[in-house]
Symmetry: C2
């Protein structure tokens, strides 16, 4: 859908941080980038893979409006119309909680060709760090990826989500971890396994494990903040006593005494 | 946790099919594999990345017991105990619906070191193929990854899942797509956007789009079967009229007349 030039935009998923978790396709696309628009949550070292590209940082962490969305969209259009290959780098997988829907719509309405390169979303990296599967056929039928940070500052219906019995992978929930765990505990036992993984899948990864009743305090004691994934559900405990932090022992003790 | 030798098992996520969607880390791990245990759902060409490894196919598609789980677990232990690097390749991301939890537990109980390499899960590739985001802040707070294929042959509580208002990414649902869409339509409008993507993220990818009321018939008419992802939710329609199949026009027409 280009209109007379070769410009295009590729949305590239930067994965959780570690450059080794980029896909081969992402690396190829970056190598051919003329312009890179870099998200705050992506590892800044990713630009070393696009040495010839002009790099523009368009961070927008935690709802702050350091770079307005409309400006980012106009910037992509402008460069693509000049015939350039614009690579828009987003942390995790670009198609989850990244406002990719809005960017795709804006670019297409402007007649700009868009391609998408998938990646590893942070919750998968969090589970890998903990050494657990997000699902376990003994415990649940699936996993819910939910953001605690809603546009209208309302809350997801935590109790309805908890009632599904699925693993919960909560993005952007650290600022309200105490209240959301308390709300979930209205439906789930306070002994339900839970974990927090900050900077999952990166060199700075830090994690604590516990239960719905203890995880907020553990995370606070360990000084964990955003960006982090909160995982809740029985599947999370399956292997949690292995190769992890001291807090993990708690889960194992609870499992053994259950 | 090795006991006197250097053997280990790495669970490697093969991604949705296209080898370009492997992570750099997966490629490195495969290059150092002595033994590769290959899942049915992984692209068989992945073995070209482990040219020196002994390859064992341990397919187990759709609940058939062609290779019993316990046998796979014993096989991994045996080779790891010989000091070999065993790479267990699973389609998509190994930590979603892959029985990784059971394999991790069995290996750890046996004292075998296990590592995990993440990848791209099929639902992300399905969304990329459709050119849509799995979430859209105007439409939903998240996405539910659910399997229709349960251990006890029961069904997930489709109506409760639908009531959350989240995007549904349904794995292993093709054998019952008609009944599950009908059940979802008990809670969601039949005009809710829906799509089916078979072999998402591979060279054989095929897709149809429509609504909850029409998608089962579209998929059947197009001859789409397993393995496929069924996506349901308003976020799915955001860009669905772009670069897709004739069926897609239907969604756009409905959006315009809505």
């Amino acid at each position: 859908m280009t209109t007379g030039n070769e410009g295009k935009v590729t949305l590239v998923s930067a994965g959780p941080g570690d450059l080794d978790l980029l896909t081969l396709k992402a690396v190829k696309v970056l190598a051919s980038a003329d312009v890179v628009l870099l998200d705050d949550l992506a590892n800044p070292e990713i630009v070393t893979l696009a040495p010839q590209a002009r790099v523009i940082r368009v961070g927008k962490r935690g709802g702050c409006r350091s770079t307005p969305q409309a400006f980012i969209e106009r910037l992509m259009q402008r460069y693509a119309r000049r015939g350039l290959h614009v690579v828009r780098v987003k942390g995790g997988d670009a198609l989850l909680f990244g406002r990719a829907g809005e960017e795709l719509a804006a670019l297409r309405n402007a007649g700009v060709t868009v391609e998408i390169v998938n990646g590893v979303s942070s919750a998968f990296a969090a589970a890998a760090g903990l050494g657990v599967s997000l699902t376990h056929r003994d415990h649940c039928q699936g996993v819910i990826f939910v953001t605690a940070h809603l546009r209208d500052h309302s809350e997801p219906d935590w109790q309805a989500l908890a009632a599904t019995g699925m693993t919960l992978a909560i993005y952007m929930g650290m600022s309200r971890i105490e209240s959301l765990c308390a709300t979930l505990a209205g439906t789930l036992p306070t002994t339900t396994p839970a974990a927090v993984v900050q900077w999952a899948g990166s060199a700075n990864e830090r994690r604590v494990a516990g239960t719905l009743g203890t995880i907020a305090a553990h995370a606070s004691a360990a000084g964990l903040g955003s960006p982090a994934i909160i995982l809740v559900g029985n599947a999370i405990a399956e292997s949690a006593s292995f190769g992890m932090h001291p807090h993990d022992k708690e889960i194992e003790a609870q499992r053994l005494s259950a």
